[in-house]
């Protein structure tokens, strides 16, 4: 009964959407905002990757909200899982080969991660994508040696600091009679690593915060006591 009703509901939804979507102007959308970004983005923000100019330039305020969501999720997850019972058994360490390759991967992935973060204003990638890779880099060694664990204190400080700096950079513009999150510093030459003013800096902070939060999240999950 319930199943039939749900199928009916979902079918109705799908049909409604299908009918509507048939009339959508695919491929020739009005693009009111998009055209302005394409025309002025490089000049106003100094980033070659225009998606980045939207993410940490025009819509940096949304990005702040998004960082807060990730922060909230990590915080709530820590509260849900609670403190680890010290007596609870941990998974055994992995074998030599896995441990050695994990150690090898750590610096490699860190370099790749930070490369992606730092080039976010020039090429595809940025704080989110690089942050995920940084988190993977930090988490893989923990997966190989569950017995060792990780100091949560460092992660908490990193999260706090990166988030606070993001807001403080935004407020710095406010105190110079600008607007909250207004880009500062010279824009530099388009396409150079040191260009785009504070935007790459903001993206770096996003990367650090995302990396720290996701690592904390994964470590918390991995540390959770298993259900028999």
């Amino acid at each position: 009964m319930r199943k039939a009703a749900s199928l009916l509901f979902a079918g109705g939804l799908a049909f409604l959407l299908a009918v509507l979507v048939a009339k959508l102007p695919f491929g020739e959308t009005p693009m009111v905002l998009g055209k302005q970004v394409l025309a002025q983005g490089a000049e106003q923000t100094g980033t070659a990757n225009l998606v980045t100019s939207v993410v940490v330039g025009y819509r940096a305020y949304d990005t702040l909200g998004e960082l807060s969501i990730l922060f909230t999720a990590a915080l709530a997850l820590g509260l849900v899982l609670g403190k680890r019972n010290a007596a609870a058994p941990r998974d055994p360490d992995a074998g030599l080969v896995l441990r050695a390759s994990a150690d090898l991967l750590l610096p490699l992935l860190l370099v790749v991660g930070f490369y992606i973060i730092l080039h976010g204003h020039l090429t595809p990638g940025g704080g989110f994508q690089g942050g995920v890779i940084v988190a993977a880099a930090l988490f893989i060694p923990i997966l190989a040696r569950p017995s060792r664990g990780l100091d949560h204190g460092v992660l908490v400080w990193l999260e706090s600091l990166a988030g606070a700096l993001f807001i403080l950079i935004g407020l710095a513009a406010l105190f110079q009679d600008g607007a909250f999150l207004e880009p500062l510093l010279g824009k530099g030459e388009l396409g150079r690593l040191l260009s785009g003013g504070t935007l790459p800096l903001l993206y770096l902070l996003v990367g650090v915060k995302v990396g720290a939060e996701l690592t904390g999240l994964l470590v918390n999950l991995a540390d959770a006591e298993a259900v028999e």
Binding site: N49, V51, T52, I116, P124, G125, G126, F128, Q129, V132, I133, A135, A136, F139, L214, L217, L218, L221, A222, A224, E225, A226, V227, E228
Partner: protein
């Protein structure tokens, strides 16, 4: 050419999505959902959205699968060979 590529991708994506719902084994379902993310990431490349594609591949296919996989392990539901549907 693009049309054929798109057709193959969409069919693969929907097939993998059906597998998420229908595969009895939870580990298999997670693998299928990871596959959905990968195909979606390729579609994003086709749609000229490389940033989104990178994120979807890193987050959807990688991180999300790790979170779900860890979850299944901790839930004690990590059973590779069992086929009984919805073994709560």
């Amino acid at each position: 050419m693009t049309e054929w590529l798109a057709l193959i991708l969409v069919v693969m994506m929907l097939a993998a999505a059906l597998a998420v719902v229908l595969v009895p084994n939870l580990v298999g379902a997670i693998a299928a959902s990871s596959a959905v993310s990968l195909v979606v990431a390729v579609i994003f490349v086709v749609l000229r959205a490389p940033d989104v594609a990178m994120t979807e591949a890193a987050v959807g296919a990688g991180l999300s699968a790790a979170v779900l996989g860890l979850g299944v392990r901790r839930l004690g539901l990590w059973k590779l060979n069992e086929g009984k549907k919805d073994d709560a």
